[in-house]
């Protein structure tokens, strides 16, 4: 789409529609595979849609275009949301989504940069994506290009010490070309983050590492879009956006329920889920 021809309201409306499609694809592919992680994919869906259908400077016909913005899904298990965005942007045919997690598929259980067009770097082992982002951002600075690196991190994986090693190194090198987005859905595999391993206040932790940090509603498309545009202007500091989200967002019976971290819907659940997503007009309930 041509962004310049549209005003802000139109862009937001467009993204809301796209986010529904992204969510439908997520449910569809996990249902087809009968395996995958719907909860964390749905919580990141609005942010990912804003990135892939508005913010990112990318060329699906040339996935390795040197000047492109880079994207890293540190919470790699949420890859159905990434694959969905990539297919919808034309990196590969939509029908490939049906092959998720299947033998010899280009869509591995966790993202693989050698198999999937548009996957800038392999991820899946938690707590490592921010380090990868630091390396990519250092490369961007070295070659003096103004592309930007976005990393989506789960609020569970920040338990990993390596996240904080990466946080320190990003501020050492003043990586203002790096934006981390914490998908704060308050759930990790074994339960609520506050119970498994409390990490709040996350924003203050990043601020203490000399990052610019802010908190937004990760399902409010206006707020997401405004924030992603604003943070590009911040100089000499990496940026962390704490996005408050709901795990399973968009499918009522999945929302805030631990077991939907890594479980596929059955036929009946699938039908309800698709209907709910398609009928849902509001970005916030």
């Amino acid at each position: 789409m041509d962004k310049k021809s549209q005003n802000f309201e139109e862009r937001v409306q467009y993204l809301k529609e796209k986010a529904k499609e992204v969510r439908v694809n997520i449910i569809d592919m996990i249902f087809t595979a009968q395996s995958g992680h719907p909860g964390g994919a749905l919580s990141a869906a609005d942010i990912m849609t804003a990135l892939y259908f508005d913010i990112l400077k990318i060329d699906p016909k040339n996935p390795r275009w040197p000047d492109r913005d880079r994207f890293i899904l540190s919470k790699g298990h949420a890859c159905p949301v990434w694959y969905s965005c990539l297919a919808m942007r034309g990196y590969f045919p939509i029908k490939e989504l049906k092959t998720l997690r299947k033998f010899e598929s280009i869509l591995q259980g966790h993202p693989d940069m050698l198999k999937t067009p548009g996957v800038d770097i392999t991820t899946g082992s938690l707590g490592q994506g921010l380090s990868l982002g630091v390396g990519m951002a250092l490369e961007g600075k070295l070659v003096k290009k103004n592309y930007h690196i976005y990393v989506i991190i789960g609020d569970g994986e920040i338990n990993e010490g390596q996240i904080w090693e990466a946080a320190a190194s990003a501020s050492k090198y003043k990586l203002d070309n790096l934006t981390a987005i914490v998908d704060k859905n308050n759930l990790q595999m074994d339960g609520f983050t506050e119970k498994v391993m409390p990490m709040d206040p996350i924003d203050k932790k990043f601020k203490a590492f000399n990052w610019y940090a802010m908190t937004i509603n990760g399902h409010n498309m206006k707020e997401i879009l405004t924030t992603l545009e604003e943070v590009k202007k911040i100089k000499s500091k990496p940026v962390c956006i704490i996005a408050n989200t709901v795990k399973g967002k968009g499918v009522s019976f999945m929302e805030n329920i631990r077991k939907w971290h890594g479980k596929a819907p059955n036929q009946r659940e699938y039908k309800i889920a698709i209907k709910e997503i398609q009928g849902d007009d509001d970005d916030i309930k």
Partner: protein, 317 residues
Amino acid sequence: MILSKADIATRQAFSERMLEYGAINKDFVVFEADIGYSTYSYLFGEAYPKRYFNMGIAESNTMAAAAGMAADGRTVIACSYGVFITMRAIEAIRTFVCYPNLNVKFLSSHGGVTPAIDGVTHQATEDIGIMTTLPNMKVLAPADTESAKKIFDVAIKTPGPVFVRLMRDPFFDIYSKKDTFKLEGSKTIRKGKDITVVTYGDTIFQALEAADELEKENISSEIIDMYSIKPFDKRNLLNSISKTEALLVVEDHQKRNGLGYELSNFCLKNKPVIFDNLGLNDTFAESGNYYKIIDKYGISKKHILNKAKELISKKRK
């Protein structure tokens, strides 16, 4: 064989070549994890500060960031000690360097028990086993100044991940400017007919001394420096053991999962010969004088001598 004492350790020689190469090739960068004055990567850092990234005492982040930087083809040299590279940061290396087959080369100092006085925490005696297990990883281990410098060139020109095992202390210089090194190469440093001794790194010098002693007893041993551990030089090995019919592998590493295990497997499948291997026998070493440690833990001249004689006597039965 009279050996000439080396002035510098392989870690220093490798880094000195890295500095030289930095002037020729502007395309590679170096990551360090706060032991630059020990790995000698500081030499590169002082000359090329914009291409040198000191990530602090944080090896996992260092190796994963190296992968991030290498993601679009950049060659990165990541430096630390063997224990930290191969254990602290192993998953970053396995999943983000080896799996996508990125151009990260590991300068791994303090191989084997060469950091003898530092003790077990700093002695990398499992590094070869861990690194050779990783798909796409190549493993090299130079023994002296000349080979360390030339193996830098081999490492940087070899696509994908390469692990280079270096030593803390200087031992002896055995190669000259004329010697060449390559991936999947080896060097027959002493010709012989009764037994083949395959080794790499610091144990080469023990093997050479043992060979002198064996010669006094009319036993002629062939010594191969298997500096390219993965992939190793099958042709040279096969030629040698076809002649000697006996193989002894000696390494400053655990016996388990080192080059000895690799070659025993190879021989069993291709050319069964009388075989044994020396290394740390499922044990950690300790702090102290290097020569006392290698003697106590079974990889010194004395052990090589005895084991070689034992294998030869088995062969004659």
